[in-house]
């Protein structure tokens, strides 16, 4: 019997091991946003696409003494008199910040859609159609270049719209409902920032509009989020309905400028066609190099072969070619190439658990928010601690994401210009601990993204510069550990990314926010 007691106590310990299953998710622990500064003069910051903050007019609001306004105050009071716990949770969720939450929503949509289409019966691959997004294969396939572009348009549009919103906030200077009427409770931290037009609704308006283009099959989810977001601000006592309506209209107008740019940025043609795919391969053979060959079965055309020609944000195409484009990779017949190939084989054979951890930590492959999304997640965690205003949040994420999209363009330009084979193509003994991307090797996308992100983030939060540089280095090397990239891919990718980031710093220094 004594033995039985021992056994029972072992199981009691075992049960306590496995009992609590609730997850603690870091993004749900973020505190309510309490900006260190309202950045009240942000209306004069330099926008990305807008000609100026008044390009879209926001009409003057009604006075807070009018019956119309008083009715709107009563709407808040009515909500607050019957608060449900679900409404409280909604308010808490959105209080962490509009720009932050919509950035997270984007990351979720990217992860949901980051799965390559299954082949047709004849061995070709279907291409997702924006016109028919819900049919298989669903639109979009949110691979890293697509994701980088999506984050960039959304972030830049949020920024421009908030610059305009801040301009009108200062101009009209309408106080927040809880300052107008002392009996309105503020369920979130109070602020001196004028409430008209609502910055939250501006962001919701931008995103509802931009995401129609980027994730046209997810409208129900997006509209529900937008409605919930706007309502949370009224429930919280932070905005009256006219603040919301004016902000939303402004956001939607500004978004249109970005949608127009996106439709003409050449990304729509980036898939290419058989003629172009053959041409790229032939050009490589003509240079005397071994061309990249898809190692998927059936062979899949390389991902977005013309993404290198998409319109950049921070520099023009001539600058990209002359000062950022990486030097050619080691020739596939050179000794350096053989040495680097041998190094990859070595990692493929002998990988430590720590290196495997690094390879998986940074893999950001299938069904994830991609490397640009990972850098957004890293930035978001740090920005939360900085107590930025919404407009500064948007400005910093715009700088980051314009860098990441330009890094994608620079990297994809090099990939299809040089058309360099993957290590496992050159040595079939090489097996990988992460999915083998279906595009040429040189340069490493992770490295280019990380170089760009670490550079601009180090400018935004200088105290974290060393940490960002370490992360970028680790993300870069993770691809060598994964046995899918040569060392040159990683090193040259980082350098190109750093250069892209430098252009973002140039913009940051002159946009009026510093």
């Amino acid at each position: 019997m004594k033995k039985l007691y021992i056994v029972l106590s072992v199981f009691t310990i075992a049960i306590s091991y496995s009992c609590s299953k609730e997850l603690t998710e870091t993004n749900l622990e973020f505190p309510a946003l309490q900006p260190a500064s309202t950045d009240i003069n942000a209306g004069i910051w330099k926008p990305v696409l807008l000609t100026g903050p008044t390009e879209f007019t926001v009409a003057a609001p009604a006075a807070t003494s009018t019956p119309d306004y008083i009715a709107q105050i009563n709407e808040i009071k009515s909500f607050q008199s019957t608060l449900t716990s679900q409404e409280k949770n909604t308010v808490k969720y959105w209080s962490a910040g509009a720009v932050l939450r919509w950035n997270e929503i984007m990351r979720e949509l990217v992860a949901k859609h980051n799965i390559p289409p299954y082949q047709n019966p004849d061995g070709t691959y279907p291409i997702p159609s924006a016109a028919n997004p819900l049919a298989y294969p669903q639109f979009p396939f949110a691979n890293p270049p697509y994701a980088a572009r999506a984050y960039a348009y959304a972030s830049a549009a949020m920024y421009d719209a908030l610059v305009a919103a801040w301009y009108y906030k200062k101009l009209y200077n309408r106080l927040a409902p809880y300052k107008v009427d002392a009996t309105v409770t503020s369920l979130i931290p109070q602020s001196d920032l004028p409430s008209y037009p609502s910055e939250d609704a501006t962001v919701a308006g931008v995103m509802a509009e931009v995401l129609k283009l980027l994730f046209p099959g997810d409208q129900e989810f997006i509209q529900l989020k937008a409605e919930e977001h706007k309502r949370s601000r009224i429930i919280a006592g932070a905005n009256v309905r006219s603040d919301i309506e004016a902000g939303e209209a402004l956001g939607k107008s500004v978004a249109q400028k970005f949608v127009t740019r996106a439709r003409g940025d050449r990304a729509g043609a980036a898939v290419g066609n058989q003629t172009i795919w053959t041409q790229i391969e032939n050009d490589c053979i003509a240079r005397g190099e071994t061309p990249w060959i898809s190692q998927e079965s059936p062979k899949r055309p390389g991902m977005l072969v013309l993404f290198g020609r998409v319109k950049t944000w921070l520099f023009d195409s001539l600058t990209m070619v002359t000062t950022i484009r990486p030097v050619p990779p080691p020739s596939t017949s050179s000794q350096q190439f053989k040495d680097e190939l041998a190094e990859v084989y070595d990692f493929s054979k002998n990988l430590t658990r720590e290196q495997l951890h690094i390879a998986h930590f940074w893999a950001d492959g299938l069904s994830t928010y991609t490397p640009p999304g990972h850098w957004n997640a890293i930035a978001a965690e740090d920005f939360v601690k900085q107590n930025f205003s919404e407009v500064r949040w948007a400005r910093n994420l715009a700088l980051l994401n314009m860098s990441l999209m330009d890094a994608a363009i620079v990297c994809w330009d090099a990939k299809y210009l040089y058309f360099n084979p993957r290590p496992s193509q050159m040595d079939s003994r090489i097996k990988t601990v992460t999915g083998l991307p279906n595009f040429p090797s040189y340069t490493s996308g992770h490295s280019t993204f990380s170089g760009a992100a670490a550079t601009i983030l180090s400018h935004i939060i200088p105290s974290r510069a060393a940490a960002y540089a370490d992360m970028a280095k680790e993300a870069s090397l993770s691809r060598l550990y994964g046995a899918i990239h040569y060392r040159s891919d990683c090193e040259k990718g980082l350098i190109a990314g750093n250069k892209v980031g430098d252009y973002a710093i140039q913009r940051a220094r002159t946009d009026g926010a510093e």
């Binding site: 033995k3 039985l4 056994v7 072992v10 199981f11 075992a14 049960i15 091991y17 496995s18 299953k21 609730e22 997850l23 603690t24 998710e25 870091t26 993004n27 749900l28 997270e104 990351r107 979720e108 992860a111 949901k112 799965i115 390559p116 289409p117 299954y118 298989y136 294969p137 190692q295 998927e296 079965s297 059936p298 493929s348 658990r353 495997l356 951890h357 998986h360 930590f361 893999a363 950001d364 299938l366 069904s367 994830t368 928010y369 990972h374 997640a377 496992s424 090489i430 097996k431 990988t432 601990v433 999915g435 083998l436 046995a483």
Partner: protein
């Protein structure tokens, strides 16, 4: 001499699946007990593979994986504390491989399992004997392997607590055993800080759904010889389906129904040594590979009694 009471359960469900953790021992799933002070131990080798798998409910192949196979080398033991109370352990080493594509196979020690088996009730009934047995099991990873690289991962990383109720009826040389198991699975930690299931999660912790399993075995059991037909079902209580053309994930809803044959045969005098073997194949599934596999092993029984008793061949049923 103590009876060699080995019966090979052969689960190592990892093989039939992307990775269903389960008990892996020779006697946690059958109705036989070791006698007091007998210690049975031995190695077991197993191999299984699948070419087709269920992506959700859709059966498909994957040209970028080809045939996924796993080999296992397992050490298992069973000790009789009393005739009615046994303790068992198992510790498998597993190696995976894909015949096509570039994904690297992984290898390592998987989960260390312990069971306590208690024959709570045994009584003549009709012309046979009915036994009711309770089995509690616990397993935990024996190495720092990753569960986040399916289908090449060697295990699912969760710590599992299982409770099994079993009824065994033997009439002359023929028997039938049925059992039902509830498996409580702990959450696991993966090597990344965010992941997507049917929604985004910002944590490295993955909520693992619990599971239930059912097992039925019918056949011949006499003088240490066992020959039985086996059918089992594993159902994950929760979890989500693999989306179209996505890779599997540890918290998928992995279900499987398998059938097979299992035998044990004493090969030497006094029946201290026995060989065991089985074959199992998957007939239905969800988010698992349609695997077929075999196991084979040799077990040896030691008498750890303080003082030597005379050998006895009496068979307790």
């Amino acid at each position: 001499m103590k009876r060699l009471l080995i019966n090979n359960k052969i689960l190592f469900l990892f093989a039939f699946s992307f990775m269903i953790n389960s008990a892996k021992s020779q006697t946690d799933i059958d109705g036989i007990m070791m006698e007091k002070n007998a210690f049975c131990v031995g190695p077991l080798y197993g191999h299984s593979s699948w070419k087709n798998y269920w992506e959700g409910t859709l059966k498909r192949e994957n040209l970028n994986l080809g045939t996924v196979s796993s080999s296992m080398f397992n050490i298992m033991g069973n000790y009789g504390i009393t005739n009615k109370l046994n303790v068992m352990f198992g510790l498998p080493y597993i190696k995976t491989k894909a015949s096509a594509g570039q994904l690297k196979g992984l290898k390592g020690l998987q989960d260390l399992s312990f069971w306590v088996k208690w024959k709570a009730y045994s009584k003549k009934m009709g012309s046979g004997r009915l036994s009711v047995i309770g089995i509690a099991g616990f397993s935990l990873p024996a190495s720092d392997y990753t569960a986040d690289f399916l289908p090449m991962s060697i295990g699912l990383e969760s710590k599992n607590l299982s409770l099994r109720g079993m009824a065994d009826y033997q009439m002359d040389k023929w028997f039938a055993t049925a059992s039902a198991t509830y498996v409580r699975r702990s959450n696991i930690e993966i090597d990344r800080t965010a992941y997507y299931t049917t929604e985004m999660h910002y944590t490295n912790e993955v909520k693992m759904p619990d599971a239930a399993s059912f097992n039925v075995r019918v056949g011949y059991r006499n003088n240490g010889i066992v020959a039985e037909a086996v059918a089992d079902n594993w159902t994950t209580l929760g979890g989500f389906d693999i989306t179209r053309n996505n890779m599997p994930f540890a918290s998928n809803k992995m279900n499987a129904t398998r059938v097979g044959f299992n035998f044990k045969y004493p090969i030497m005098f006094h029946r201290q040594l026995a060989i065991v073997g089985n074959v199992m194949t998957t007939v239905a599934g969800r988010n698992v590979g349609q695997s077929t596999g075999f196991n084979a092993g040799i077990f040896y029984v030691l008498d750890l009694s303080p003082k030597k008793k005379s050998d006895s061949d009496k068979t307790k049923k």
